[in-house]
């Protein structure tokens, strides 16, 4: 019993799910759901269909070359069961999975970081151009002028007082 990979979206195909198509040249294709199957029949290229893993890996949206990804490989020679080996393998698998996830997350975060800089610049531009929508240009100016006048008057009065 194996969990296969869908040819189109590279998702897991669990036993009892999906469809397998065998072509006349003896190449077999597995699909996880009818969405992938129908896209395949429409002759769409998975490397150009944006939501598939094949696209994401081919266009650098996801981590491709990494040592943690080398652990999972399809081996063609089966190995006889040996409890010690199996135990070790399961332990190693868990650890490798952790590390893999961390690295993948880090890769995507780095990719998205560049956006922050762009966002900053955009916000600055926006404020520069359209500030008049939320704030009138001379919003607090009347009050300021008044205050200034009052202050000046006060100073004058003081000066007069002093002179006197």
């Amino acid at each position: 019993m194996r969990i296969e990979k869908c040819y189109f979206c590279s998702g897991p195909v669990y036993p009892g799910h999906g469809v397998m198509f065998v072509r006349n040249d003896c190449k077999s294709f597995r699909f996880c759901r009818s969405k992938c199957h129908k896209n395949f029949k429409k002759k769409r290229n998975p490397r150009k269909t944006r939501w598939t893993k094949a696209f994401r890996k081919a266009n650098g949206k996801e981590l491709t070359v990494d040592n943690a990804l080398e652990f999972e490989k399809r081996r063609n020679i089966p190995v006889k069961y040996n409890r010690a080996v199996w135990d070790k393998t399961v332990e190693a698998m868990k650890r490798v999975e952790e590390i893999k996830r961390k690295r993948q997350a880090r890769f995507i975060m780095n990719r998205l970081k560049k956006c922050k800089q762009l966002e900053k610049e955009e916000a600055i531009n926006e404020v520069k151009k359209n500030i008049q929508l939320i704030r009138a240009p001379h919003a607090g100016k009347a009050k300021q002028l008044e205050d200034k006048m009052v202050q000046k008057l006060q100073e004058d009065v003081d000066m007069v007082d002093e002179n006197l």
């Binding site: 080996v85 650890r95 590390i99």
Partner: protein, 634 residues
């Protein structure tokens, strides 16, 4: 082979069926339309065709029956004799003869009537002639009813006869009823013959096949024979006698030592002597069966003498027990060997052998040096050969285990696995973990690789790759972000308002729209200007100065009519009060009315009959990306 055709005989229909089939065929396959005004030759041709067609059909079918059934003179005498025993040669030949006569009669009838038809001068006459012809043919056939029935039964029985090849190696079992012939054949071959305690359980010949020395052998089981002269024998016994007479086989005469079959040894010996002439030129073995009950050594003196005599004459006597299986293999090998020797002898005596022998030449290679080079036979072959001869008990199979344990049996194929450690055979092997196949990760060097990976990971952590970097922004930047957000919101609101305006008709310039004071003050206030105490501002003064709009004259309330006009009389109560006993009932009626309208109102319907669908393709169900999920609600 003659026996092959017995299964291929065409079904013989009953007389009634036969007539029905042929007549309906005539009806369907010949033209059906004819009119009085056709030319006479056309009418004649039409009816002649019908008569000839019917005759042709009968002729074909009957000829096929005659050729299909085997001619007793042409087949192997064993089968000829067997058929005679079972079906009576005379009756058989008579039946076929009758069919032949019927066929000829039908031909003659057809010929006559076709000749007569040539002189038919009207449609009616020709039609009557045709009717007469067909009628006579059918009557002829009706008279053959019993023959046809008999032939059908013969055909059915023939097809079920066992396929005995008279020329190949055969072992023939004979003896009294209930001595153990059928048990023997069940043991030696894969045949499944009925074994019951009453006499004449086996009522006909049965064939089983077995292998010995890489050759196929037939074993023929016969019904038991009783000791009386040939004329008094019934059909069942005659089958056994036929088999004995015609098959060139090794004879296994089965005797019951324990006398459980109901006849003592003396009687069995007498039977043996009376059918002795049939055993001429055939290898013979006496099988002393049921020796688990009584052995020969336990018998009385005179009985033991019988067996001693037989052995002295050169006929091997072998003790067997079909129950415990002792001696069965010995009998088999002995009989087969003797038969083979006999057959080879016969072949050597014949003339054909020399042709073959002349062409054979055994080449012995000349010795190169003195080194001995004996043939190499691997041990496995030797043990297997021994097992074949001795028929050693086979190793215990799963099936035997299953029968032993009954309900407790569990099929456990894992116990045959070839692993390094024996205890791990019953382990449940994990195959999948969290969406990954464990088989993809198995590697002899996985631990080393994991170590390297962990080291890398440490280095990366030290280098600070995994630190979560929160950019500490200064206050200014945060302010700017807040302002930008507000600006965006304001923009969206403006767009929404403009969409809602829904202006039909010519657009007036902005200056014609009146701006209300309150609205202006509110807007400017939200932009941050101080709009209190603006009573004496320019816009407020202008607003006051504009010409006041003349108010409409207030209409006087109309006078209520006092005179009693012919309005609707109050004697007829309104609908919601008629028939209502008391306020409680009125309340309930009102409640029911409102309840029945609730659904309609909720769906925005005008009334009960409003079936209008306002939105056949609501946008929320037909737009958007479809990932995993349904389209009934999105």
């Amino acid at each position: 082979m003659a026996l092959y055709n017995f299964k291929k005989i065409m079904v013989v229909p009953t007389a009634k069926d036969f007539i029905d089939i042929t007549l309906s065929k005539t009806q369907r396959k010949t033209p059906t339309v004819v009119h009085k005004h056709y030319q006479i030759h056309r009418i004649r041709h039409f009816y002649m065709r019908k008569v000839k067609f019917t005759q042709q059909n009968y002729h074909d079918r009957l000829s096929q029956i005659l050729t299909d059934f085997p001619k007793l003179d042409d087949i192997h005498p064993f089968y000829a004799d067997l058929m005679n025993v079972l079906y009576d040669k005379d009756h058989y030949k008579l039946a076929l003869g009758q069919i032949n006569i019927a066929k000829n009669l039908i031909d003659n009838v057809a010929k006559d009537y076709v000749r007569l038809m040539k002189y038919g001068d009207s449609l009616y006459r020709c039609k009557q002639l045709k009717r007469a012809a067909l009628g006579r043919m059918c009557t002829i056939l009706k008279r053959q009813k019993s023959s046809l029935e008999y032939l059908e039964q013969v055909r059915q029985h023939l097809s079920r006869l066992p396929s005995i090849d008279p020329n190949t190696r055969t072992l023939l079992l004979c003896g009294y009823p209930n001595v153990g012939k059928s048990s023997f054949i069940n043991k030696v071959t894969r045949a499944d013959v009925d074994v019951q305690p009453y006499a004449f359980t086996t009522k006909s010949l049965f064939v089983g096949h077995m292998d010995y020395r890489y050759l196929r052998w037939q074993v023929v089981d016969t019904p038991g024979i009783l000791d009386h002269p040939l004329e008094n024998r019934n059909t069942i016994e005659m089958q056994a006698i036929t088999a004995l007479a015609h098959l060139r086989a090794a004879i296994l005469y089965v005797m019951d030592v324990s006398e459980q079959c109901g006849h003592n040894l003396q009687q069995q010996l007498e039977l043996f002597n009376s059918i002795r002439p049939l055993f001429a030129n055939k290898p013979l073995i006496i099988v002393a069966n049921k020796c688990d009950v009584k052995k020969i050594t336990e018998l009385t003196e005179e009985n033991q003498k019988i067996f001693a005599d037989l052995t002295a004459e050169g006929i091997p006597v072998i003790e067997t027990s079909t129950l415990t299986e002792e001696g069965v293999m010995q009998v088999k090998t002995e009989a087969c060997d003797r038969l083979l020797a006999h057959r080879v002898d016969n072949k050597m005596k014949g003339k054909k052998v020399h042709d073959v022998l002349n062409r054979l030449h055994l080449a012995m290679p000349a010795k190169r040096d003195e080194k001995e080079r004996p043939p190499f036979i691997p041990e496995g072959a030797l043990t297997r050969k021994k097992a074949m001869e001795v028929d050693a008990p086979k190793r215990k199979t799963e099936r035997d285990l299953e029968m032993e344990m009954g309900d407790d049996y569990i099929l456990d194929l894992q116990k045959y696995w070839d692993l390094m450690n024996e205890e791990e055979k019953s382990d449940i092997v994990p195959e999948v973990w969290e969406g990954h196949n464990i088989a993809d990760y198995i590697d002899p060097e996985i631990m080393k690789k994991l170590e390297l990976l962990e080291q890398e990971e440490e280095l990366k952590e030290k280098a600070g790759e995994y630190d979560s970097d929160e950019e500490s922004e200064d206050e200014e930047m945060q302010e700017i972000r807040v302002l930008a957000k507000q600006i965006r919101e304001k923009k969206q609101v403006m767009v929404a308002i403009s969409r809602e305006k829904d202006v039909h008709g010519p657009r007036m310039p902005r200056t014609t729209t009146r701006v209300e004071r309150a609205k202006l003050e509110k807007e400017m206030g939200s932009l941050g200007l101080d709009m209190n105490n603006k009573d004496d501002s320019h816009y407020a003064q202008n607003a006051r100065r504009s010409r006041s709009v003349t108010k409409k004259r207030k209409r006087e309330a109309s006078v209520v009519p006092t005179s009693k006009t012919r309005s609707q009389s109050a004697s007829r109560p309104p609908r919601d009060q008629s028939g209502v006993r008391d306020p409680a009932m009125a309340k309930k009626a009102k409640r029911m009315m409102k309840h029945s309208q609730k659904d309609m109102n909720r769906q925005g319907k005008k009334g009960e009959a409003d079936r209008h669908v306002y939105d056949l393709k609501p946008k929320h169900l037909f737009s958007g990306k479809r990932t995993q999920g349904t389209n009934d609600r999105r």
